[in-house]
């Protein structure tokens, strides 16, 4: 009988897209997550823009700064003064400030580190998100899939507003979902074509993608092994066939499962 990990837990992976592999470029996606004091989960996912020369640095610095800021706020503020819904926006602000400082010190243009950023905070009651640029957050709430936060509508495939843009605050979107969330997926646009159906009304989560993925997450017995297998999954031909972009997927299991699944990848 495998020993399941007690929820909540988080795991994730980033892989280079085929174009970056061909050109010998680094993966421009990055992610960071942390469970803070058993009560909170914090996730940041970023996708550096291909047109920016140091976007791999931008995405890495952004996710690290965002998670660090959330951790400081959660651990350093008394609970009666803590507005949880504001924390994802503060995570984005911290990332932007970090990029501004780096640009100043290292004599870069801010836009040289252009990146998208999604920040998520959850506890056993609520999920809060803030997002600039594309990628998405999907939750399973009471058995149903919900697109909590998705790409801002942009007509063309190669248009996006990064956090380094001066109008980033006007372009950020935030969301929250309360009670009953079981699973969470946070991902960059390299996974969008695989996981979201695009309709005239907008995007919607694709059940035949998320149900197996969340089912796999529920059956995890080892985070390290899970991350390795998730990398293999993201790099697989099935997922890469329609997107040559870098891909990042971070999964969180919010509540304990009674599932005795023993599947592995």
């Amino acid at each position: 009988m495998p020993l399941f990990i007690a929820a909540p837990y988080i795991f994730g992976a980033s892989v280079s897209g085929s174009l970056h592999l061909q050109e010998g470029l680094p993966c421009q996606d990055a992610y960071c997550y942390e469970l803070v004091s058993d009560d909170f989960g914090v996730i940041a996912v970023a996708d550096g823009l291909g047109s920016a020369p140091f976007s791999d640095l931008g995405s890495r610095l952004s996710v690290d700064a965002a998670v660090c800021a959330a951790k400081s706020l959660l651990l350093g503020t008394s609970s009666d003064k803590l507005d949880l819904s504001e924390i994802p926006v503060r995570m984005l602000q911290a990332a932007r400030e970090c990029l501004e400082e780096t640009a100043l010190i290292d004599d870069f243009q801010l836009g040289d580190m252009a990146t998208t950023l999604i920040a998520v905070l959850f506890n056993s009651h609520c999920i809060y998100t803030a997002q600039i640029g594309d990628g998405a957050v999907v939750a399973q709430v009471a058995g149903s899939l919900v697109l909590l936060s998705g790409p801002v509508h942009s007509e063309y495939a190669n248009e996006v507003t990064p956090i380094t843009c001066n109008t980033w605050q006007a372009n950020l979107s935030r969301a929250e979902a309360c009670s009953g969330a079981e699973y969470l997926a946070v991902f960059t646009d390299g996974c969008q074509r695989a996981s979201l159906r695009k309709t005239v009304e907008g995007y919607e989560p694709f059940e035949r993608f998320f149900h197996p993925v969340f089912s796999y997450a529920a059956g995890m017995d080892n985070i390290e092994k899970g991350e390795l297998e998730l990398s293999e999954f993201l790099a697989s031909e099935k997922i890469s066939e329609y997107s040559e972009d870098d891909k990042t997927l971070v999964l969180a299991v919010l509540h304990g499962q009674c599932d005795n699944r023993t599947d592995s990848l």
Binding site: S51, L196, E241
Partner: protein, 231 residues
């Protein structure tokens, strides 16, 4: 059996890169020009097919204007388009041709939206050796067509490129073109180089990723195929 093997893909299709060629086949193109245009067009198709990603993503349409305006090829994948031998005859109904091109682009984008297909900003690429015979600067048709081009370009509905082949009326083409992208005058016998540039630019666009600004090679350099008339 891994549970992740059960994953299915929501949108199993590549983003599309719509490119519309608007080709002058009026009587004045007769001879060497139409021969070079045909050779260049077929070279363009072959060149796109050499690129794995562009082959899957470029969606090509061809409209000719000469003896009427003809959609000789509605949007389709390049590999499904047969080789063509266009012939030159008739006048230059450029106004109607431009309206037809912009209608076709809108129609295609609508199909993409309905089918949930991601797409890049479409290109309209016009090649002509004359001036419109179905409209004149300032008349209602001209005002409507030129206004639609300028509005379409500024609101990012499409990218509009014009190439004039001697003896094209470059001033008329300039008035039709968006201010930020003046018409280029094709250097003598450079049809193939022009189509090579177009193919390379289309391939670059179709391989671009989110947020990419696609830098195009300068066609007016010393080795380029075009020049900008500043007079």
């Amino acid at each position: 059996m891994s549970v992740l093997n059960e994953v299915e893909i929501a949108n199993p299709q590549h983003p599309h890169c719509a490119t519309l060629l608007l080709l002058d086949t009026s009587g004045s193109m007769e001879g060497d020009k139409i021969r070079q245009l045909n050779e260049g067009l077929n070279f363009f198709k072959e060149d796109i097919l050499q690129d794995d990603l562009a082959r899957k993503r470029v969606d090509l349409a061809i409209i000719t204007f000469g003896e009427g305006v003809n959609v000789v090829q509605n949007f389709a994948s390049v590999e499904s388009i047969p080789d063509m031998q266009l012939t030159a005859e008739g006048l230059t109904p450029m106004g109607y041709a431009l309206s037809t091109a912009m209608d076709l682009i809108e129609q295609r984008k609508n199909e993409y939206r309905i089918k949930g297909v991601d797409y890049y900003r479409p290109w309209i690429f016009m090649i002509t050796d004359g001036e419109p015979t179905d409209m004149k600067p300032g008349d209602p048709k001209w005002t409507s067509v030129a206004g639609r081009i300028h509005e379409g370009e500024s609101s990012k509905k499409f990218l509009f490129f014009t190439v004039g082949v001697v003896p094209a009326n470059m001033q008329v083409l300039k008035d039709l073109s968006p201010q930020n992208r003046p018409p280029l005058k094709l250097k003598k016998d450079r049809f193939r180089e022009m189509f090579s540039w177009l193919s390379k630019s289309t391939r670059k666009t179709s391989a671009s990723k989110v947020g990419d600004i696609v830098p195009l090679d300068n066609p007016t350099g010393p080795e380029g195929w075009g020049e900008i008339e500043t007079a």
